[in-house]
């Protein structure tokens, strides 16, 4: 089987669907996507996974020079920095059949969208090329005497 991966596909550069990041974050590497590396994972205690959807995690700060960053989660403060990646990373996003059909026709040409049930993966789009990321590699420090 063949799974297509499209780079520079028209759908990713179309202004209608893009939401640029705030300028200080966009400056790190890419206008729309920023990668944040955490030592450990964000663990959420919830009855079902969908409960966390849309919930606030914390405050992400970045200095004006775009070199150091902070992440405040509750009473914990993480300090991190912006680092260059050894090799660039492409962020791939699954393309689903149905809501991106028009774009597929433009870049595919011979692509025939098989009439199947909705939500079938038709391939992957590279939505961003990332060269720098924010890394939080230290342990969190507690914040005292300040409301969360």
């Amino acid at each position: 089987m063949i799974v297509p991966i499209s780079f520079n596909s028209p759908s990713t550069s179309a202004a209608a669907t893009s939401y640029p990041l705030p300028p200080t974050l966009a400056r790190i590497s890419h206008a729309e996507v920023v990668l944040v590396e955490l030592q450990g994972a964000l663990e959420i205690h919830s009855a079902k996974p969908s409960e966390r959807d849309g919930k606030l995690v914390g405050r992400l700060g970045i200095d004006d020079a775009g070199k150091t960053a902070t992440l405040r989660i509750g009473h914990h403060l993480l300090e991190g920095k912006v680092v260059q990646l050894a090799k660039p990373l492409a962020v791939l996003q699954r393309v689903l059949d149905g809501h991106k059909e028009d774009n597929m026709d433009v870049d595919g040409g011979e692509e025939q969208p098989a009439p199947s049930e909705t939500q079938t993966t038709t391939g992957w789009d590279a939505i961003a090329l990332i060269k720098r990321k924010i890394v939080f590699s230290k342990r969190p420090t507690p914040i005292v005497g300040r409301p969360a």
């Binding site: 499209s6 705030p22 996507v33 994972a41 970045i62």
Partner: protein
């Protein structure tokens, strides 16, 4: 210091597994950055195989998933709130790419018994079994460029939409006939009228136009109906002739000068003169017929010959090693190296 609200995206659960990180080697990154038009890479493989990534032109990479101890958050802007950013996905693995040779050996198995010879060439009409170019594209883990050049190199015809390797004896006959026609009609090898030639071949020698036109593209350039014969290329398939003399005889006077043993590299074995034969003899020994697995290939090679000189063995490794460094690694792993008093390096079985 500007601060932003970091929240989970409202569609986090729904979008789980919708993002992946792909590490790009420098050359792919350059390709992507310098191209303004959409590029289409493809991941190929059956469920039983390791997936490979094929570039739009002619490179193949194996894909390896590397698990990270850290988590990477994919963060984008929040469409509803300018001052906030959202976590779209949490990832713990990235995909790594390593350049590899295209996995073309499956082609041989797929096309076994589909050889096209002079009998089959004349049987027109009936629908053919077998695989088409499109089938091959999805079954073979190789980029389009590599597949096309392999079809050309292995002399595989596209007859009525199906891939058919040409029988070596039939190809020899066609080439000899073409060369004879060129000489007999006083045509220039640099400008042969292709359609006239193939019409003549069809009329007089019962070689179908589809076959002769494709054979011409293998051995030269076909532009606007004018075929520029690539003289050295024509000699390549005649390797099964055991001696250069017969080879020269086969190609005729005009092309005799361009007959050279180098063209047969990786296809023959040279045996030094023994008491029985007063001269060096050549035997047909195609590297394409050897196993692809390095271990079994070396086993085969050492069955054929106990001791190999460095320059003798290298043509038989060129199709399993990506470059000289890879080849030396294989030699180091599977052979024992000895150097004689004259400085000649020999490889023996480990």
């Amino acid at each position: 210091m500007p601060e932003f609200d970091l929240a989970f995206s409202a569609s986090l659960t729904e979008e789980t597994g919708h993002f992946k990180l792909l590490e790009l080697p420098t050359e792919i990154c350059a390709l992507v950055e310098n191209s303004l038009t959409p590029l289409r890479f493809s991941v190929k493989g059956q469920s039983s195989e390791d997936a490979v990534l094929c570039t739009p032109d002619d490179k193949t990479y194996t894909i390896r998933s590397v698990v990270l101890s850290n988590n990477i958050l994919v963060v984008t802007s929040d469409p509803e709130n300018d001052a906030a950013v959202v976590v779209r996905d949490q990832l713990t693995e990235i995909l790594e790419l390593t350049p590899t040779l295209p996995k073309l050996e499956k082609l041989t198995a797929l096309l076994r018994g589909r050889d096209l010879d002079d009998v089959a060439d004349n049987a027109d009409g009936e629908p053919e079994p077998g695989i088409s170019y499109e089938d091959a594209k999805s079954l073979i883990q190789a980029s389009d460029g590599e597949l096309a050049s392999t079809l050309r190199k292995r002399r595989i015809l596209d007859i009525r939409g199906k891939l058919r390797p040409i029988a070596p004896s039939y190809l020899t006959t066609i080439l000899e006939t073409i060369l004879n026609h060129i000489v007999a009609q006083g045509l220039k090898p640099e400008a042969v009228p292709a359609s006239e030639l193939s019409a003549t071949l069809a009329d007089e020698n019962e070689i179908s136009v589809a076959v002769s036109m494709q054979v011409m593209t293998w051995f030269g350039n076909l532009n606007d109906g004018v075929w520029v014969l690539d003289v050295p290329a024509v000699h390549e398939p005649l390797t099964r002739e055991e001696l250069l003399r017969r080879w020269k005889l086969a190609v005729g006077d005009t092309f005799e000068a361009s007959v050279a043993l180098d063209l047969l590299s990786g296809n023959y074995l040279e045996t030094a003169s023994t008491g029985l034969f007063s001269a060096d003899t050549l035997t047909y020994f195609p590297s394409s017929a050897l196993p692809v697995e390095p271990a079994s290939r070396f086993a085969d090679l050492f069955l054929t010959r106990q001791r190999w000189r460095a320059e003798d063995i290298s043509p038989f490794l060129s199709d399993i090693a990506l470059n000289n460094k890879e080849r030396d690694k294989l030699l180091l792993k599977y052979t024992r190296t000895t150097t004689d008093s004259g400085g000649q390096v020999y490889y023996t079985k480990r």
